[in-house]
C-alpha cells in the first residue's frame, strides 16, 4: 500500500467539497477515521521509502519511519477528535477545507524526504494557518493574520535561502543525500544554512527570540482553532527541524545552542504569563513554555531525554486539545475569554477537566505529564546537565503559580452561570482526561513506543 493515500485522500476531498455541502461534518469524521485505519495497517511494515514518479535522488521520495509514523498518527488522531467535536455543529465548508489542508500540510512535512518539497508543505501549512487566524473576520482576527503573514513570509524567505545555498553548494535536494554531502560544505556555509533553517523554523516553532508575535495570534483566533495551532502545527515543525538536524549530523554546538534557546524560551514564556489577563494568552504562554521544554528534550543526542520529549509531545498535544476545547465551550457561552470567566461558570465537570489538565502540564503525579518530565529530568541527570535540570524545576514553579491562580478563581463567590455540555463533547473531553491519567499510571507501553521513536529520530532515516 502506498503512503501517498495519506495526502491524496484529504486533498481529493477538499477539492470536491462543492458536491456534498451539507454532509461535510460527517465526511470529515469519515476521512479521519479512514486515515487512522490506514495508519494502523501501514505501521506494521516500517520503514517504508516510496519514490514518486521516478528514482529517488532525482525525484521526490517519501519516507515513513517510526518517528514520522508516530507523529503522523498523532496528528490524524487529534484531527479525528477535533472533527468529532465539531460534529454537533453545522457543516462549515471553510473549517472542512482548512482542517484537511492543515492535515495535508503537516503529514507532508513529516513524511517528505526532499527539502524543497518540505518548503512546499511548509507554505501549505503556513497559508492554512493564516486563513485560520483570519476566520473570525473581525478587526482582531485580521490584525493577527496580517502580523502572522509578515513574520511568516520572512520565515519562508530564510528557508528559501537555506535551500538555495544547499543546492548551489552540493547540488542535491534529497535529505539523505544532503546528509552524506553536508561535510563538503565549508564551515561558514554550514553555519549560514543552519542559521537560516533556525530562523525559518524557529519562527514557526514559536521559539524565544522569534516568538513575540505568537501570543497575539492565539489571542486573535477562537480557542477551537488554537487547538490546531498548539497541538498539531508547532509539533510538526519541531519534528521536521530536529529530524533534519539529526539526519545531517550537524555540529553538536548547534544542538547545544538550541537547548539554550529552549530553556530561555521556557523561562521567558512562563514569567510573561504571570501578568496575563486573557485565558487564551495564558494558555498560549504555556504552549510556548512547553515548546521550550521540547526544544531542550530534542536537543540532547541522548535516547532517554529524547524518549521523554516524545512522551511530552504526546501528552502536551492531547492536554492542550482538551484544555482549548474546554475553553472553547466557555468562550462560546460568555463571548469572551478574559480570566474573569473562570469566576463565573458553574460546571463541576469542566473544573475537573481543568484540574487534570493543569496538573498534567505542571508534571505532577499521577498524570502523564509527570512521567514525561521525570524521564527528561532523569536523562538530563544522566548526562550531567544539572544546571538545565535546576532551571526546568525552578521555571516549573513559576508555571504552578499562574495555573493555580486560575484554579483559585473558580472558588470565587460571584453569581455563577451554569454550563451545559453536549454529551458527545463531554465524552471526548472525558476520554482525553482518562488517557492522561491512564498513561500517568501505566506509562510503560507508551514509553516503549516513545523509545523506539526516539531511537529512530536520533539514528537517522532508515531505522
Amino acid at each position: 500500500m502506498s503512503i501517498l493515500y495519506f495526502i491524496a485522500i484529504p486533498l481529493l476531498a477538499s477539492f470536491l467539497t462543492l458536491f456534498f455541502k451539507n454532509y461535510l461534518r460527517y465526511i470529515s469524521v469519515a476521512i479521519n477515521a479512514i486515515l487512522l485505519v490506514l495508519a494502523y495497517f501501514i505501521i506494521e511494515n516500517l520503514p517504508i521509502t516510496e519514490n514518486l514518479s521516478f528514482d529517488s535522488p532525482l525525484a521526490i521520495s517519501f519516507v515513513l519511519t517510526k518517528g514520522s509514523a508516530f507523529f503522523m498518527t498523532l496528528f490524524i488522531g487529534i484531527s479525528f477528535l477535533f472533527s468529532l467535536y465539531n460534529i454537533t455543529q453545522n457543516s462549515r465548508r471553510d473549517i472542512f477545507i482548512l482542517t484537511n489542508m492543515l492535515l495535508i500540510g503537516v503529514i507532508g512535512l513529516v513524511l517528505s524526504g526532499d527539502i524543497f518539497n518540505i518548503y512546499i508543505f511548509f507554505e501549505i501549512s503556513s497559508i492554512t494557518a493564516y486563513i485560520l487566524t483570519s476566520l473570525n473576520r473581525d478587526a482582531k482576527a485580521y490584525n493577527g493574520a496580517i502580523k502572522y503573514m509578515i513574520i511568516g513570509s520572512i520565515a519562508s524567505i530564510f528557508l528559501l535561502i537555506a535551500i538555495i545555498t544547499i543546492y548551489l553548494n552540493i547540488g542535491t535536494l534529497n535529505l539523505i543525500t544532503i546528509g552524506e554531502r553536508f561535510g563538503y560544505m565549508g564551515a561558514n556555509t554550514q553555519f549560514l544554512v543552519l542559521l537560516s533553517l533556525f530562523i525559518g523554523f524557529g519562527i514557526k516553532t514559536e521559539i524565544f527570540p522569534l516568538n513575540f508575535w505568537a501570543v497575539d495570534i492565539y489571542q486573535a483566533t477562537s480557542s477551537k482553532i488554537n487547538t490546531l495551532f498548539s497541538s498539531i502545527l508547532s509539533k510538526a515543525y519541531i519534528f521536521v527541524f530536529f529530524h533534519i538536524a539529526y539526519l545531517w549530523n550537524v555540529d553538536s554546538k548547534y544542538l547545544l545552542f538550541t537547548a539554550m534557546i529552549g530553556v530561555i524560551s521556557f523561562g521567558i514564556a512562563e514569567v510573561s504569563s504571570l501578568t496575563s489577563k486573557d485565558t487564551k494568552r495564558v494558555f498560549a504562554y504555556s504552549t510556548l513554555g512547553q515548546l521550550g521544554v521540547l526544544f531542550i528534550g530534542f536537543s540532547y543526542n541522548n535516547i532517554t531525554i529524547m524518549t521523554g520529549a516524545i512522551f511530552l509531545v504526546f501528552m502536551h498535544s492531547i492536554t492542550k486539545l482538551m484544555l482549548f476545547l474546554s475553553l472553547d465551550i466557555l468562550e462560546q457561552r460568555f463571548g469572551q475569554s478574559s480570566i474573569e470567566i473562570f469566576k463565573q461558570f458553574k460546571s463541576p465537570f469542566l473544573i475537573i477537566i481543568f484540574i487534570i489538565g493543569f496538573l498534567s502540564l505542571l508534571g505532577l503525579p499521577p498524570f502523564g505529564g509527570f512521567i514525561a518530565k521525570l524521564t527528561i529530568l532523569s536523562g538530563l541527570a544522566g548526562v550531567g546537565a544539572y544546571i538545565m535540570m535546576g532551571a526546568i524545576l525552578v521555571i516549573s514553579l513559576v508555571e504552578a503559580v499562574y495555573l493555580f491562580r486560575l484554579l483559585s478563581y473558580t472558588k470565587d463567590t460571584q453569581p455563577k452561570v451554569k454550563i451545559s455540555i453536549p454529551l458527545l463533547q463531554k465524552a471526548i473531553l472525558a476520554s482525553i482526561a482518562f488517557a492522561i491519567i491512564y498513561f500517568g499510571i501505566f506509562p510503560n507501553a507508551l514509553l516503549d513506543i516513545s523509545q523506539q521513536v526516539a531511537s529512530s529520530i536520533i539514528g537517522g532515516v532508515h531505522v
Binding site: F116, I127, D138, A139, K140, Y142, I157, T275
Partner: protein
Amino acid sequence: MLDSFNQTPFLHSVITIGSFLILLIGLVGALSKKNLFKIFLSLAIAESSLFIYFIGMHFSIGKIAPIVTNKVTEFSNDMVDPIPQAMILTTIVIGIAVLSLALSFIISYYKLTGKMRIDDMNELGEDK
C-alpha cells in the same frame, strides 16, 4: 580589457553583490516601513532577489536553455540546470498566492477599521 567583463566569475560577482543588495533593501524595507502595503511590496522584492541569485549562479557564459529545438537536437551539459528553474517557477506562483492573500487581508482590515499602518494596529495585547 573588455574581455574580462565577459567571463563567468565577473558575472557571478555582479549577480551575488547585486541580488544581495536587493535582498537587503527588501528586508530593511519590510522591517522599517510602517505601511502594510509597502511591507508586502518589500517582501516581494526581497523574494525576487533570491530568484535572480539562484538562476544567475547556475548560468555561466555559453550555456543555453534546456529546450530541444530545431537547432539544438539533444540534451547535453551545455545546457543550464533545469531544476533551479523549475523550483523558481514554483516559488513565483507561491509568491503571488501569498501576496494576494495578504492584500485581501489588508483590504478587509482597512474596510473594518480604516487603518493602513502597522503601528496603528492595536486590537491585540495584554489589556484588550
